[in-house]
Subunit: 446 residues, 2 copies
C-alpha cells in the first residue's frame, strides 16, 4: 500500500501530517503503509507517480489535488495513469450545487470540475468540503461501459510524452488493484478515511480478530526509550506480519501503538498483552500510561481527582506553560485551582510571599526560591499541592554557576516538600517544554 | 532533486519533519525539491527507491539508515543501486573510535559498519553523532580505483531478486548525478545539510545573486490567507524558475518565504521587494511581520518595549497559554510583569477583585467578566495594559446562549478598555490556541 501526497506546498515547507495520521489509522485495521511519496501539482509528475504506484502496489491512496482550481490535477492524472476517461456526473454536479446553495454561496463555475469521475469509480461523499473522493476497484469495476469508448483499443487521453504502450501495460498490471482519490485538507481527508476508506479496506483485506494497546512514555531521553523498546518491536514485527507497531516520538515523549490480529479475539488480546508487558518491563519507570490514560497531564489530573487533591502552580521560567498544559484537560477545574506567572522578583515577593532576603541571598534561580514559590502558591490557593518552577531558560542570563538549562522544580504539601535540580539541553523552547514535562512527571509520582 | 527518507517509524506514525526543513533550506539557495519518498528499513525497498530516484533525478538526497544496527541498510542499498562496492575506510574507523574515546564509551563492534564508504564517495563529517555522511558525485568520481573490482564486468553485490542488467543500466544513467547519504536524526542531519550539502549544491547549481524575504500572517482563517496570496505565488513561480516560495501554515498562522535569484543582487532584492509588496497588499491586515519580525509574540513584545509599556494577563479558559507564549520570547521580562490563571470563580474574586455580584449576574464567561479581569490584573501588577480572557473551551460546559467556542478577550489600560467576543471552532485545544492568537493579534494593534 502506498500513499501518494499531491501538493507543491508539501515540498515547499508545509509540514505533512497526513502520513503520520493515515499510517496510524491503517495500522489500526492491521495494514501497513509500505511507502509514501509526495509530488508537485503538475500533471506529468502526478501521472508518473500514480503509474509507478499502480505497478508496484496493491492499494494506492492519493490525497490532494481534487479541488476546483487549475492546479488541482489529480483527477486528470489518475485518468492518464489508469487509461480510464473522466465522465461528467450530473448527480454529483447537483450535489455540489446543493452544497453551495445550503451555504448560501454562488457556485464558482470552476467547481464543475469536481463532478468528473473516473469511469467505473464510485464517488465518496465529502461532508466537510466540496470535493468528492473516488474509489476505483480495478478488478471488479466494468472495463467497458455501454456507450463508452473501447478502452482496449487505446487510451482516451493519450498525450505526447508518455512512453508508448504505457497505458495498456498499466492496464493489465492494474488488474485487481484499488485506487482511491481523497481530498487534501485534513478536515476533509480524515472523516472520509474513517467513513469510506478504512471500512472498504477492512472488508477486502481484513481477516480475523484484532486487539490493540497504546503505551506512553516520558522522563528519560527519547533515544533511550527508543533503544530500550526497539529490539522488541523489531523481533515481534519480523516474527509475524500480524503484529503492527506505530511509534510517535516528540520532545521526550514517546507513544507506542501495538496492533495484533489473530484467529480469535482472545488470542489477539493475549498477544497484545504479552508484548505490552515486555515493552513496559523494558521501559521501566519511563512508562506512564496505557490506552486512554494519556496524555501526561491527564494521568496527573486523574491521580489528583482520585485522591481528591488540589493543585496550584507558580511558574517563573516556564511562564504559564505548566498551567496551560494542566488546564488543557477537560474538567481540570476539579483539581486545578490557580496558576501564577511571577516573572518579576517583585511579583514573587508580593504574590507568593517569597522573602526578599531569600532572593537576595540565593537568587531567584535556586532551590530555596523554588521551594518558597511552591509553598507560597499552595498557601495562597489553599491547595493540597503547590508547584514552584524557576530556572534559566536562556538564551541569555546564564552564568558559570547557574548555566542556561538549570531548572529547579519544587513540590510542596502541608507536610512535605521536595525540590529537584535539572540540567536541560536545547534552545529556550526545548528547555521550557522539558521543564514542564519534568514537573508533570514529578506530579504523577506524588 | 528528490529526498528519500529511510525509516519504518516514518510509515508507522512518527511525524516527518525532514521534508519541511530540507525543502525550505533548499529553497534558500534557489533549488526546489521535486519529489519526496519514504520507505521502510528494508534492503530491497531502499535499493529500489534509490534506483528509481537515480534514474529520474539529478540530485538524490537520502536521510536515515546510516546507524550501526541491523536495520540501518542505506549504505548497502546505495551500493546495490549504484553498483559501487563498499570499502572499509581505516581513517574513518579511527575517527569513529576516537569519538567514543572522547565520550568515554566503549565502542560497540556494530559501529564498525559505519566506516564503510561507497567507492569514490567522499565522507561528510558528522559532529553530532557517529554516522558519517557520504557524497558521491557520479560524474567526477573515478569509476575504477586501483585494486577495486572491474565494475563494468558486473556488480559486486548482485543478489537474487534484482532484475538482470539493472545495475549496468543504472550506471550509465547515473552518470553526472549526485547521491548524498545523510543521517536521520535532525540534530545530525540539519548541521550536515548546512555545512556540507547546501554549499556543495550551491557550487554546482547555484548561479547569480540571491535575495529573500519572509512574511508572516495571522488573524483571518488560514484558507482565506491562502486564497488571497495563492494566485500571486502561482503567477510568479510559473513566470520564472528563479523565484521560489515556501509556505508553512499551521493553526491560523501562515509563514511565507520568497526567494529570488537574479543577475545582480540589486535586481534580486528589487524583485523580492516587488513580490513582497504584492503579497502584503493582497493579505491586508493579516500581515503582521516580515523577516525577523516574528513570531507574533515577538512582534507584540517589540511593540511594548518600544513604547516602554508593560503587560499583565489574567486567563481563564486559556489557562496560562497566553502567558506562556508571551514569555517564550527571550527578554520578555522587560515588559511582561505577571500572569494569573484564575480558573475558579473564587480565584477571580480573590486575586483580580472581580465583584462576586458581577459573576452572579453575567456569569464567568461574559463581556463584563473579561473586562473586570483585565482591569483587575492591570491594577494588581501596576501594568500599562491588562488582558482578560474568559470563554468556553469545551468539550463540556456549553449552553445555547454560551456555546463551546465563545471567548471574550478584553484589553484595559488606565484610560481605555475594549472587549471582543469570538466564536472559535475546533476542539478544546484548537479553541484555546485560537483564543491566544486572537489576544496576541489584539495586542499588536494597541
Amino acid at each position: 500500500m502506498i500513499l501518494v501526497c499531491v501538493g507543491s506546498e508539501l515540498l515547499r515547507g508545509k509540514l505533512n501530517t497526513h502520513v503520520s495520521h493515515v499510517s496510524r489509522r491503517l495500522a489500526s485495521i492491521g495494514l501497513e503503509m509500505n511507502e509514501e511519496c509526495t509530488v508537485h501539482d503538475r500533471l506529468p509528475e502526478i501521472a508518473a507517480a500514480l503509474r509507478r504506484a499502480l505497478e508496484n502496489f496493491q492499494v494506492v491512496l492519493v490525497s490532494g489535488g481534487l479541488g476546483p482550481t487549475f492546479d488541482d490535477l489529480t483527477r486528470e492524472a489518475a485518468s492518464e495513469a489508469t487509461g480510464r476517461p473522466l465522465s461528467f456526473s450530473k448527480p454529483l454536479f447537483r450535489e455540489i450545487q446543493a452544497k453551495f446553495r445550503r451555504a448560501r454561496h454562488r457556485m464558482p463555475p470552476a467547481n464543475a470540475r469536481q463532478a468528473y469521475v473516473l469511469d467505473g469509480a464510485e464517488s465518496l461523499a465529502n461532508h466537510a468540503g466540496t470535493a468528492p473522493g473516488q474509489w476505483l476497484d480495478l478488478q471488479s469495476s466494468p472495463r467497458r461501459k455501454p456507450g463508452s469508448r473501447d478502452l482496449d483499443s487505446g487510451p482516451p487521453h493519450n498525450k505526447a510524452g508518455r512512453p508508448p504502450g504505457c497505458v495498456e501495460d498499466g492496464f493489465r498490471r492494474n488488474d485487481g488493484k484499488v485506487l482511491a482519490l481523497l481530498p487534501g485538507p485534513p478536515r476533509e481527508l480524515y472523516p472520509m478515511l474513517e467513513s469510506a476508506v478504512l471500512p472498504r479496506l477492512k472488508k477486502i483485506y481484513g481477516a480475523g480478530a484484532r486487539a490493540e494497546t497504546h503505551l506512553h512514555f516520558v522522563g528519560v531521553p527519547e533515544s533511550a526509550i527508543d533503544d530500550k523498546i526497539r529490539p522488541i518491536i523489531h523481533r515481534e514485527s519480523h516474527a509475524s506480519n500480524r503484529i503492527q507497531f506505530t511509534i510517535l516520538a516528540h520532545l521526550g515523549l514517546v507513544d507506542l501503538d501495538i496492533f495484533v490480529s489473530a484467529a480469535t479475539a482472545a488470542r489477539a488480546r493475549a498477544a497484545a498483552e504479552r508484548i505490552s508487558r515486555a515493552v513496559r518491563r523494558a521501559a521501566g519507570k519511563a512508562w506512564y500510561g496505557s490506552d486512554d490514560a494519556f496524555p501526561l497531564e491527564k494521568v496527573v489530573g486523574d491521580r489528583f481527582r482520585r485522591r481528591r487533591a488540589t493543585l496550584a502552580v507558580a511558574e517563573s521560567c516556564t511562564g504559564g506553560m505548566l498551567a496551560s498544559r494542566l488546564t488543557d484537560v477537560p474538567g481540570s477545574s476539579d483539581y486545578f485551582l490557580e496558576g501564577c506567572v511571577t516573572y518579576a522578583n517583585t511579583a514573587k515577593v508580593r504574590e507568593l510571599s517569597v522573602p526578599e532576603s531569600l532572593l537576595k541571598e540565593h537568587g531567584a534561580v535556586s532551590r530555596p526560591a523554588a521551594l518558597a514559590m511552591a509553598k507560597g502558591i499552595r498557601r495562597r490557593a489553599q491547595a493540597t499541592w503547590g508547584v514552584g518552577i524557576t530556572g534559566v531558560a536562556g538564551p541569555g542570563g546564564g552564568t558559570a554557576k547557574k548555566p542556561v538549562g538549570l531548572v529547579y522544580i519544587a513540590l510542596a504539601s502541608k507536610i512535605r516538600a521536595v525540590c529537584r535540580a535539572y540540567h536541560f539541553t536545547g534552545d529556550r523552547g526545548a528547555i521550557r517544554r522539558r521543564a514542564v514535562l519534568a514537573a508533570l512527571d514529578l506530579l504523577r509520582r506524588v
